[in-house]
């Protein structure tokens, strides 16, 4: 087993472990912090795959911005009250959840069994660079990219419309 494989198992194991802790932790803040650690391990896996740009973006967007917003919201809520609400689980919701997890597992298993396992022997010199990622994003997938940004814009406008009350100062 080479060093790359050992590192892969270390980071993959840590990612799975922290992901499990996210849903089992009693405290919402602890969950959020474990989520950040999980994102870190995912970024490390990206680095192992020579995708440095993706790794940096992963930390910048998910660990640096989105989870901070999640923490922000948790802090504004009363956590002791959240803990008391845990009793409200119903059987239908649990059943739907189980079915969805089963579907996702089957789809993932099929995808994984079809794709090659192991580290690629040789990569093109520009692989994983900002230039390569930009080429793919703005040439090959330009239309989907623009559509996604339009979707995000709509979401932002909707958020502003919901948060804005009549009579507020603009």
């Amino acid at each position: 087993m080479n060093a790359q494989a050992i590192l892969f198992y270390v980071f993959a194991g840590a990612a799975l472990g922290t992901a499990a802790l996210v849903i089992t932790a009693k405290n919402a803040i602890s969950s959020a912090i474990f989520l950040v650690v999980c994102f870190f391990n995912l970024a490390a896996l990206f680095v192992l795959l020579d995708a440095h740009f993706l790794a940096a973006t992963q930390i910048l967007v998910y660990a640096g911005a989105i989870t901070v917003l999640i923490l922000f919201v948790i802090m504004l809520l009363d956590i002791t009250q959240l803990a008391r609400m845990e009793g409200s689980r119903n059987a239908t919701a649990q059943a739907i959840g189980l079915v969805l997890v089963a579907i996702a597992t089957v789809l993932l298993a099929r995808q994984v069994s079809e794709s090659p396992i192991g580290f690629p022997e040789s990569l093109p010199p520009a692989f994983g660079t900002v230039e390569a990622a930009g080429d793919i994003l703005f040439k090959q997938y330009l239309l989907p990219f623009e559509l996604v940004s339009l979707l995000l814009l709509a979401a932002i406008v909707a958020a502003v419309a919901l948060a804005h009350r009549e009579g507020d100062r603009p």
Binding site: I29, A63, G64, A65, V130
Partner: protein
């Protein structure tokens, strides 16, 4: 065979990076006291001493450290202990990590291999800086929440809102500068800014430089953006419940962040390690001449400085005592280096054979000096602004960020794009 040279150079590169941050840090704490004192027409710290020597108040920093070590380390009873323990460590860790992609010198050529004076050459470059710097908010947020105190929580909330808002403008201000450099790598940016100072990023992209520096102030929580620790409203903000060395870690992290921000500003907008008007090739070709000139300047300038200091020594300080600080400077910065340089000149007769490796090392050292000098200027700017401008009100802060700086940054990207397109 194990690559001893590569490994050794890597260790050296990391050591120099840590030395830059950790050695400038106490200096900055001294500057903060001394500069604030002169701005407010005081003298600043002047009593801590070793014998008759006060080093213009620098000894006070040592007294401070001893005081902080001696204090009781208190964890509030209602605190969340693991996070309360981790938060200061995260703050310092993030600050030290960010500097890894900042180049602090050109390349050194030894045995046909070239080593860049930069810890990590990552293609994502500045994205790494933004990514790691954005993690700094966790130190603040965790400290704020785990202390279980209203004031710390308010400080943490202010800080996270502020950091998210200004991070956005910071990245957008960067985009226009990076469009000009054509690369995200800071060493490429430094190469792009070689030569005369109108090649500097600040001259090519003045608006981006201004926006970026402003955001750097917000990201380091420095005045006028220091609402997270606004002492007139929320005691000391997120670190209210910290004492002893864990408070010291927050304190040090603030200055480490200033040094890192200054390093990034320098390499992006002010030529990085490049010495203005003088190219690396020119310096390398004339390395022995440069060394000769430096030694000559030290041999002449050192004793002159020493004589001035001896004059100040006899003139005495404001208490009418002999000024022993001047005596220390006279020996350590005046006569000592002067004699050493003169001795070397006399022994060698002023003829040097440096070779390619020696020339590259000399040039790299000069560039390291230039980089640190620029970096120190921006550290000074941080302190200068803190003691000059009043703190923003919270709504002013948000309005400035979202309504003025964000549209300006977007406009700057548009204009830069149009100009680059016209130029082809």
């Amino acid at each position: 065979m194990f690559d001893f040279l590569g490994m050794g150079m890597m260790m050296l590169r990391i050591a120099v990076m840590l030395a830059i941050i950790l050695q400038i840090l106490p200096l900055l704490i001294w500057w903060e006291r001394k500069i604030s004192a002169y701005i407010q027409d005081r003298r600043g710290p002047a009593y801590a001493n070793v014998g008759p020597v006060r080093l213009y108040g620098l000894i006070h920093t040592i007294a401070d450290v001893i005081k902080l070590i001696g204090k009781e380390d208190i964890t509030p009873a209602a605190a969340h202990k693991p996070f309360h323990f981790l938060a200061p460590a995260i703050s310092m860790f993030v600050a030290l990590l960010t500097f890894a992609v900042v180049p602090y010198g050109g390349t050194i050529e030894i045995a046909g291999r070239s080593f860049p004076l930069q810890v990590a050459q990552i293609n994502a470059g500045i994205l790494y800086v933004l990514a790691i710097a954005s993690l700094g908010v966790y130190g603040i947020i965790l400290a704020a929440w785990s202390s279980n105190n209203k004031y710390t929580l308010l400080g943490g909330l202010r800080s996270s809102a502020q950091l998210i808002s200004y991070e956005l403008v910071m990245s957008l201000a960067l985009v226009s500068a990076l469009m000009v450099y054509g690369s995200l790598r800071l060493d490429q940016a430094a190469l792009h800014q070689a030569g005369p100072i109108w090649n500097w990023g600040a001259a090519v992209q003045p608006l981006a430089a201004l926006l970026f520096i402003t955001c750097a102030f917000a990201e380091t929580n420095r005045n006028p953006f220091d609402l997270p620790e606004g002492e007139s409203e929320i005691v000391a903000g997120y670190h209210t419940e910290y004492s002893s060395l864990r408070f010291a870690l927050f304190f040090m992290a603030e200055y480490a962040n200033i040094i890192v921000a200054s390093g990034v500003i320098t390499s992006l907008f002010f030529g990085g390690y490049q010495i203005p008007f003088v190219s690396t090739e020119f310096l390398r070709a004339n390395a022995s001449l440069v060394l000769h000139g430096l030694l000559l300047a030290t041999a002449v300038g050192g004793p002159l400085l020493g004589l001035l200091m001896v004059f100040l020594f006899f003139q005495g300080n404001e208490r009418g005592e002999k000024d022993w600080d001047s005596a220390v400077v006279a020996l350590a910065a005046g006569f000592g280096p002067g004699l050493a340089a003169g001795g070397v000149l006399l022994l060698t007769g002023g003829r040097f054979e440096l070779g390619a490796a020696g020339a590259s090392i000399l040039v790299a050292l000069l560039q390291l000096g230039c980089c640190v000098a620029k970096l120190l200027f921006f550290c000074f700017l941080f302190i200068w602004v803190r003691w000059t401008l009043p703190r923003f009100r919270y709504d002013q802060l948000m309005r400035l960020g979202w309504k003025y700086m964000l549209p300006l940054a977007l406009l700057n990207i548009l204009v830069t794009g149009l100009v680059l397109w016209r130029q082809g």
